[in-house]
Amino acid sequence: MALSKRPGPPRPRNGASASGSRLWTWLMIPGTLWMTGFLIASLVLVAALAFGTTDPLGNPQFGLNFDNIAAMADPAYRAVLLRSLGYALLTCVICLVVAYPVAYAIALHGGRFKNLLIAAIVVPFFANYLVRMYGWSVVLSDDGPLLRALRATGLADGDTKILQTGPGVVAGLVYGFIVFMIIPLYAALERMDVSLIEAGRDLYGGPLRTFFYVTLPATRQGAAAGCVLVFLPAMGDFVSAQLMGGPDQIMIGNLIQDKFFQGQNWPLGSALTMLMMAVLFLGMLGYLRRTRKDEAEAAR
């Protein structure tokens, strides 16, 4: 079901639109240069450095060396990569389940407070993620306010812990990235034509049936965009595992960070980065094919 506006068939060209197209081309230049300089060029550097070595001072050197690629066969990396994938997927699902009702309530029942409510969600995220996570690690610590209160009320015993556990890490990831799920869902729900829901009711659909057959499919693209926006940063994150995780919760981001800092091995760090990007790219392919299919369906 196509809900967003689709461009109509192209109109015949005339002089005015040709000069307009030249203007668009010129307007593309700053953005293109920016992306080329800071995104693509740095990616190319990372890719090239994956085949590099280090000099005796630990400075990275370009080269054509396959040691780093071979080093990635180490089972330790595979296990950590799989764990990161699992955590990121779980984070996605939890974010979706938590964010949907929030976005729904704001978009359809927020009334004149809509913007205020969205601001209330977005503004706290202006504070640095690391600082906020550090704050959580104090609140959730064994002698911190939360566990002390739980122990006092008998809901927790002396061995209960929140930090340095898998759920702790996933909770940190959910907290860190849920805003990226709420915003696209909100946009999709806000854009949705409410009369569709009314039509669903008119056709004797109960609230649940209307939700699953009308609302949910209509906002599918927003959900998919949200999942991508949450999954990508969650997969590469190292802050949550660093502050909320223990030895059994290390994520691939932590290992990559170690290579760039303590390990003084930028080439291996680059190779691991490329490996992670390859895994993410495979995941993205599925998403891209899905959206293309959606578009094709919509065009019919």
Binding site: I40, L45, G52, P247, D258, Q262
Partner: protein, 380 residues
């Protein structure tokens, strides 16, 4: 603007983008094969004598909050200059800034990094005869007269010293431990033990427990160390260098810890008597930070004056009380001993230095082997 203008095709956009990027990448590669410009002479002559006089404001680069602000104020007033401060949060970060061509007058590398920077001809020669207070350092602490990282301390002056031991909560696991690295395996602490999130410290601890060299990069040694540390993993709550908060907020009942952090806790814990600090009999890694002047410094004269100013007895005392790290300066020992009276093992003595348990630089291959071992320890 006509809204219906056809957008630039994504393909041509990508082609333009990647072409330009490739050009950029190749340009960099062919320029010198190195990732960053590596011509040391571009930075200036390390051996040129420094004219000790005010030659501008001091551009200072150190860990955050590592000198008493009152000492800065005093220097600014006495010499009529400003101190322009910037901070690093890791040695790697410091080196990256230097490599990027940033210019500082005074930096504070650890021993290991001092050796690397000297080898790269990045540090100016410091003539000790031009420092009025040099003898209170080199005359008293003979170790620093000719340290391994900088022969005859030709490019550095030692600043602070510290060592690594075990901090614990006396109220949770008792007043006394066995005084050995084995204590980390103590069943009473199981599940609430942290080790530092630091490759050298953790591998070094395993090595000392097994009686091996702290910086070993021998494959057989590293396998034994990894096995030993794997047996510690079930006891571990995590890898973290935040010993201070972990002990205070109860996440840790025992943690590998740096002496300086423990000294700082004495001043800030509500009840310091619940804390203990011991040094293992198998040996305690030691380390030191030093003053150094990069070869591309704009104001090396002011930097020399600042080092001398910092070595004045009254300023040494102020700084020791402010940061909680001992300094190898004659006459400062009592100040530090009084500061860490509950933790006498925070003291770094001439004997500790003689044991020479510094972490050393290894070959590229050796560093790589250590790094792999660390990955196995950390990822399990």
């Amino acid at each position: 603007m006509s809204p219906e203008a056809p957008p630039l095709s994504r393909r041509s956009f990508l082609r333009t983008g990647s072409g330009a990027a490739l050009g950029l990448g190749l340009g960099l590669t062919t320029a010198g094969c190195g990732f960053l410009p590596e011509d040391p002479d571009a930075h200036g002559d390390p051996d040129a004598p420094i004219n000790v006089r005010v030659d501008g404001d001091l551009v200072y680069f150190n860990w955050a909050d590592f000198i008493d602000p009152a000492v800065f104020a005093g220097f600014e007033k006495e010499y009529g200059v400003k101190v322009i401060q910037s901070n690093f949060d890791s040695m790697e970060g410091m080196a990256a800034k230097l490599n990027a061509g940033n210019r500082y007058d005074l930096i504070f590398p650890t021993a290991k990094w001092a050796q690397r920077l000297t080898a790269g001809r990045r540090l100016r020669r410091i003539d000790h005869t031009r420092l009025r207070h040099a003898d209170s350092v080199f005359g008293e602490y003979s170790y620093f007269a000719d340290p391994w990282y900088d022969p005859r301390s030709a490019h550095t002056v030692p600043f602070t010293m510290y060592k690594t031991g075990i901090g614990w909560r006396k109220d949770r696991i008792g007043d006394h431990l066995a005084g050995s690295w084995d204590d980390l395996w103590n069943v009473r602490a199981k599940g609430k033990v942290f080790v530092l999130d630091d490759r050298d410290e953790v591998l070094g601890m395993g090595a000392l427990k097994l009686g091996l060299g702290v910086s070993t990069d021998d494959g057989g040694d590293l396998d034994r160390i990894t096995d030993t540390l794997q047996s510690l993993r079930p006891h571990l709550r995590g890898f973290s260098s935040d010993s201070y908060n972990n002990l205070l907020n109860g996440n840790a009942v025992m943690t590998q810890a740096w002496s300086g952090d423990m000294a700082a806790m004495l001043g800030q814990a509500k009840d310091p008597s619940v804390l203990g600090f011991e040094v293992a009999r198998e040996g305690a890694p030691v380390n030191s930070d030093c003053y150094a002047i990069p070869t591309n410094a704009r104001h090396p004269g002011t930097a020399m004056l600042f080092i001398d100013y910092m070595l004045r007895p009254e300023n040494v005392k102020k700084n020791i009380e402010y940061i909680g790290y001992p300094m190898p300066v004659r006459g400062s020992e009592d100040t530090y001993a009084a500061l860490v009276e509950p933790f006498p093992e925070c003291l770094v003595t001439a004997d500790d230095l003689k044991d020479d348990l510094f972490f050393r630089n290894g070959s590229s291959k050796g560093e790589r082997a250590r790094d792999t071992a660390w990955t196995h320890v950390k990822a399990g």
